[in-house]
């Protein structure tokens, strides 16, 4: 009967751990729901850039405020997720984190016209940028997917800025996205989700190029940039 006892222990322990895992997942889910809510709000706030240029600084400020809140949320996550189990529960915050990478890099681009680095984004979210054996961090792949989202949004912005008479921005966007495109080509991508997302980048690049082309053949590009 001792073998029966062993089987009972094996399954009992397993069920116990399963239950614990379920509890942790429940807590994580709840936190992620709140943090995700903030990311949606930020996305909405930033949509104003497509129709009202003057509102951009205010939108950026508002976005910054919301990032502060997200930072608090990520800190909670950091506490809840057992160190060492980051990749076990990653699916809960994966898409949300990608969206934050996009939102933060968009905000920083609007403010300064610069690319937000992996470290900067991680710092704004209040997490580490280094992939560690233990602990919560910003996964490099998530960051890169966020940048690809940024390119799509900028392609749209290029079109819309022309619509309300800003002929300068498309060129600025074109330079920026071209540089990112060159950067992404340095990566050895596997056949995974990042690769698929990267394959869509060429359509954004094409869209931006066409805008710049349309402006240039009509002589609408600012002269200083042309020379």
């Amino acid at each position: 009967m001792s073998s029966n006892h062993i089987i009972n222990t094996i399954f009992g322990e397993f069920q116990k751990n399963l239950d614990q895992e379920q509890e942790i997942r429940e807590v994580i889910r709840n936190i992620c729901k709140d943090v995700d809510q903030i990311s949606r709000e930020t996305t909405t706030v930033l949509q104003v850039i497509h129709h009202d240029e003057t509102a951009i600084p205010a939108a950026c400020l508002k976005a910054r405020e919301l990032f502060e809140k997200a930072n608090v949320g990520y800190n909670k996550l950091k506490e809840v997720v057992p160190s060492g189990d980051y990749y076990k529960y990653q699916d809960h915050w994966r898409y949300m984190t990608q969206r934050y990478c996009y939102l933060i890099s968009l905000t920083i681009w609007l403010e300064k016209g610069l690319l937000a680095t992996h470290e900067t984004v991680a710092a704004i979210l209040g997490i580490s940028a280094e992939e560690q054996k233990e602990g919560f961090h910003l996964d490099i792949e998530e960051y890169l997917v966020g940048l690809l989202h940024l390119c799509t949004e900028l392609a749209r912005l290029a079109v819309n800025s022309v619509t309300h008479g800003d002929y300068n921005k498309p060129q600025q966007i074109s330079k920026f996205v071209m540089e990112l495109n060159a950067g992404f080509r340095l990566l050895n991508l596997k056949n995974d989700h990042l690769r698929k997302r990267f394959d869509a980048l060429k359509y954004d690049v094409k869209k931006i190029e066409e805008v710049v082309y349309d402006l240039s053949i009509r002589g609408l590009l600012p002269k200083t940039e042309n020379a």
Binding site: S2, S3, N4, I6, I7, N8, T9, I10, F11, E13, F14, Q15, N17, L18, D19, Q22, G84, D85, Y86, Y87, K88, Q90, L115, T117, H118, E131, Q132, K133, E134, I140, E141, Y143, L144, S174, K175, M178, E179, L180, N181, A182, G183, F184, L186, L187, N188, L189, K190, K202, Y203, V205, K206, E209, E210, V212, Y213, S216, I217, G219
Partner: protein, 273 residues
């Protein structure tokens, strides 16, 4: 980049879509901070991929050797040959533990757990199956997860390396074990060892009962459970045949009923591959 190189024929200013694109592209500085950052990112991604590939390879080594060990354990017919093959199996398991499994542990030493779990889970499951089958053959006992975990601790000069086997992989390997036990039960009918057969049957049953009580698991275990259920049915009908007709016929005759299971035997009990 598909916009590049497409000539539109509109060149009143000497500009085409492609020349506009080229201008932007060539105006990029060679070594801007952005490209610098991407080089670092490329390095990180490559690292990750290489490690993944190495782990897949190690895991496959573990899988192959584990399958062979299981086969070896099945091949024994008499008691003495069984003892010999158990002895050999134990040695080979030890080699696995000191070889590829240790390699996995070293490879994962400084990287986050679960990041590469997809690469190593097949090997872990097969190893658990072989390890359990061996110990069951030896003394009819199973080993618990902490005990397996303890076997996979390695003392290095200045530190301890542990190959972490997730509990889920352990449970998945244990589910595969029912398939082996079923085979063993049926094999032991043919070698006339009905005691052995009943024991194995009971073990399959116990394991199945255990799995029935578990709730809240993922897809993988649910899929294995249906295979396990089939194993239980097969082994129980085999034992039934042994009981009912066992008295009246020599064991070899009972085998006439066997091809029935034997035929589906290979179809689904190796649920993994």
């Amino acid at each position: 980049m598909s916009g590049r190189g497409r000539y539109r024929g509109n060149s009143c200013h000497g500009k085409t879509l492609s020349s506009v694109a080229k201008e932007t592209a060539t105006s990029l500085p060679e070594d801007s901070p952005v490209l610098q950052m991407f080089k670092i990112a490329a390095h990180k991604l490559n690292d990750r991929q290489d490690r993944h590939e190495r782990l897949v390879k190690l895991s496959r080594d573990v899988t192959i050797e584990s399958k062979r060990i299981i086969f070896l354990l099945h091949s024994a017919i008499t008691k003495t040959s069984a003892e010999k093959s158990i002895h050999e199996a134990k040695e080979r398991l030890q080699k696995l533990i000191q070889g590829p499994l240790k390699g996995i542990g070293l490879e994962l030493e400084n990287s986050p757990a679960h990041l590469h779990s997809r690469a190593v889970t097949p090997g872990f499951q097969e190893f658990i199956e072989a390890r359990m089958f061996c110990s069951f053959m030896e003394n009819k006992l199973l080993i618990t997860w902490p005990e397996v975990q303890k076997e996979l601790e390695y003392k290095e000069e200045d530190r301890t390396v542990i190959t972490m086997v997730p509990q889920l992989d352990y449970m998945l390997g244990l589910a595969d074990l029912t398939g082996e036990l079923m085979r063993k039960a049926i094999n032991s009918i043919s070698s006339g060892d009905s005691e052995e057969c009943f024991d194995s049957c009971q073990a399959v049953r116990d394991l199945y009962t255990g799995y029935l009580g578990i709730f809240g698991t993922g897809k993988e275990l649910a899929r294995k459970l249906s295979t396990t259920r089939n194993n239980v049915f097969k082994v129980e009908s085999a034992v039934y045949a042994l009981r009912v007709r066992g008295g009246e016929a020599p064991p070899t005759l009972l085998l006439a009923a066997k091809p029935d299971w034997e035929r589906n035997d290979h179809s689904d009990d190796e649920g993994f591959f």
